[in-house]
């Protein structure tokens, strides 16, 4: 990875995100952006104002290209993999105009705005593993020589439709806090997240004398084969993704210095993830520091994988691991070495970011310092 850029509930930029998550103060607040008076829960982690998804994705992708030092010629050869739910305008468009509002058209305008090639662009709509799947696919394609550089971006900005759906599904935390792996956890809260990373082969980076920020060391994807929207309780599906990612990284569990967990804060997901970590990591599951930063920046849906990977690499580079906020006490089904109370200083060089989604979709990405 040679470039990153982000917008989160803590504001624009990686510095705001890092200082926000290391502050340990969750970004949740009453929603001002739209009317939530008919909802059971009215809290989310939203940045100020009413940012527009297209403008923010284009700005963040451009900033990631700038961060990587990509020239106009470099950009013109680089495809975009974009993780989004869809064009926010599509559901309210007139029937005749709807066909023009595909995710691919959305990504195409972002690519055009940013000077990227519109060849080989992709949109991932696989819910909360959309961005992490795109990152794994980009890394795999580069490792196999099918591409030399890919920009992976993801974007979700808190808006009324998904908010209403999650509220109707009774998965939003009614106490206004996300408490992953904790007793008394009541669910998730949505958040704003737009992130982009430039991933390229070490040869491509070296050829333009670019200094890598981090390396994608391993990746794994798997399915639970269990239920439309519930995770497999024994964790076997996610465990396979973790094992595959570690094997690709040439690493063992004890090499991991941090895990940025999926940690949705829901009743079913957190113990399933705990079981997966125990299955895949063995004894190391009790010692490797774990936190779910969804407790701080919220659940950013399709963008989760890229926002949380950026959090993970920022934490490694800073040598400080963010807390698992909202913790009230131990849950016997979720016994892990959680980072609690204050950030944990570390000299770790290897970490893992986990994401899970409806459909039993799981991803694990191993990231290391260069």
């Amino acid at each position: 990875m040679t470039g990153t850029a982000v917008l989160s509930a803590y504001g624009p930029g990686t510095e705001a995100l890092l200082s926000g998550v290391l502050s340990g103060r969750p970004a949740f607040a009453p929603v001002q952006r739209f009317d939530v008076s008919a909802r059971r829960v009215g809290v989310a982690a939203a940045t100020a104002g009413s940012p527009q998804l297209h403008a923010e994705v284009a700005r963040v992708v451009g900033e990631a290209c700038d961060d990587a030092g990509l020239s106009a010629a470099d950009r013109a050869r680089t495809p975009l993999f974009l993780a989004i739910h869809g064009d926010p305008a599509a559901p309210r468009a007139a029937a005749g105009g709807r066909t023009a509002l595909t995710p691919e058209a959305f990504a195409g305008t972002v690519a055009h705005t940013c000077g990227l090639t519109e060849q080989d662009l992709r949109c991932y709509m696989s819910a909360c593993v959309a961005a992490s799947t795109a990152i794994g696919d980009a890394a795999a394609a580069i490792a196999r020589g099918l591409a030399s550089r890919v920009i992976v971006a993801g974007g979700y900005l808190v808006e009324p439709d998904q908010f209403a759906l999650f509220d109707a599904g009774r998965v939003l935390a009614s106490d206004g806090q996300v408490r992953p792996f904790s007793t008394g956890r009541r669910g998730l809260l949505l958040g704003d997240g737009v992130g982009a990373v430039v991933i390229e082969s070490s040869e491509a980076a070296a050829a333009r004398r670019a200094l890598p920020l981090a390396r994608i060391a391993g990746w794994g994807r798997s399915g639970d084969a269990f239920h439309p929207c519930q995770p497999r309780p024994d964790g076997h599906g996610l465990a396979r993704a973790i094992t595959a990612a570690l094997q690709r990284a040439g690493a063992v569990a004890a090499d991991l210095g941090y895990i940025n967990a999926h940690g949705s804060g829901t009743a079913a997901s957190d113990p399933a993830e705990t079981n997966a970590l125990r299955l895949a990591l063995g004894d190391a599951a009790a010692t490797v520091p774990v936190s779910s930063t969804k407790s701080l920046h919220g659940q950013v849906l399709e963008a989760s994988g890229v926002l949380e990977l950026i959090v993970t690499l920022l934490a490694l580079r800073k040598g400080m691991l963010p807390v698992n906020a909202g913790y009230l006490g131990a849950d016997d089904g979720c016994r892990l070495r959680l980072v609690l109370d204050e950030p944990l200083a570390t000299d770790a060089e290897l970490a893992m970011s986990l994401n899970c989604a409806f459909g039993g979709a799981n991803t694990a990405i191993v990231v290391g310092l260069p």
């Binding site: 008919a38 595909t102 696989s126 759906l165 639970d224 084969a225 239920h227 929207c229």
Partner: protein, 186 residues
């Protein structure tokens, strides 16, 4: 019993050829509508108001039933969904409820992402591979090939679906079960 009369192939009928061009071996292929009786999508319990998930489940089941040989034990099958606009019917219903100040049905929450029906398929057919949804057919086929080459799957069920509400008023879908030439014995 009268044989079922096939309907004229649609553009989705090109899916197997595109898969071959992408270096994939096609184990089975189906499309919707396939025969003249394919005029009403069978309902799927738990999924409401939209044909997206029921149709996707129907074509996927047909493709899986028509595999030439029984699935070898331990075979890992990825699910790769390809759709231009996704479940636009459900999205329109949700937007209408929100604009009317109403609460959408909780069932619409579960089906609001294509992963949900993939989870149904995975559980029903023991498909333990990755679940992916992308927007373009070439991307979907490239991903299927990459997942197999990367050993995260032995084969992939690639399902394309586009609802009529997004285009010509007719729902179209196609599904293929594919593998790579060198993975005949997973």
């Amino acid at each position: 019993m009268m044989p079922l009369e096939p309907v004229a192939p649609t553009a989705l009928g090109a899916l197997p050829a595109a898969a071959s061009d992408a270096g994939l071996v096609v184990l089975s292929a189906v499309s919707w509508p396939e025969v003249t009786t394919d005029n009403e999508v069978p309902p799927l319990a738990g999924f409401i108001e939209s044909t997206f998930s029921p149709l996707l489940a129907e074509v996927a089941a047909r493709a899986l039933r028509r595999r030439p040989d029984p699935k070898p034990p331990g075979t890992v099958t990825a699910i790769v969904m390809v759709t231009a606009l996704g479940d636009v019917t459900s999205a329109i219903r949700v937007a209408a409820a929100v604009d009317a100040g109403k609460r959408p049905s909780p069932l619409l929450f579960f089906q609001s992402v294509p992963n949900a029906v993939a989870g149904y398929l995975a559980a029903r057919w023991d498909l333990t591979g990755p679940v992916v949804c992308v927007s373009g057919i070439s991307a979907g086929l490239d991903i299927a090939a990459l997942l197999i080459d990367d050993a995260d799957a032995d084969e992939a069920l690639v399902i394309r679906i586009d609802l009529g509400v997004a285009s010509d008023g007719l729902d179209h879908s196609a599904a293929i079960l594919v593998t790579r030439p060198d993975r005949n014995d997973p």
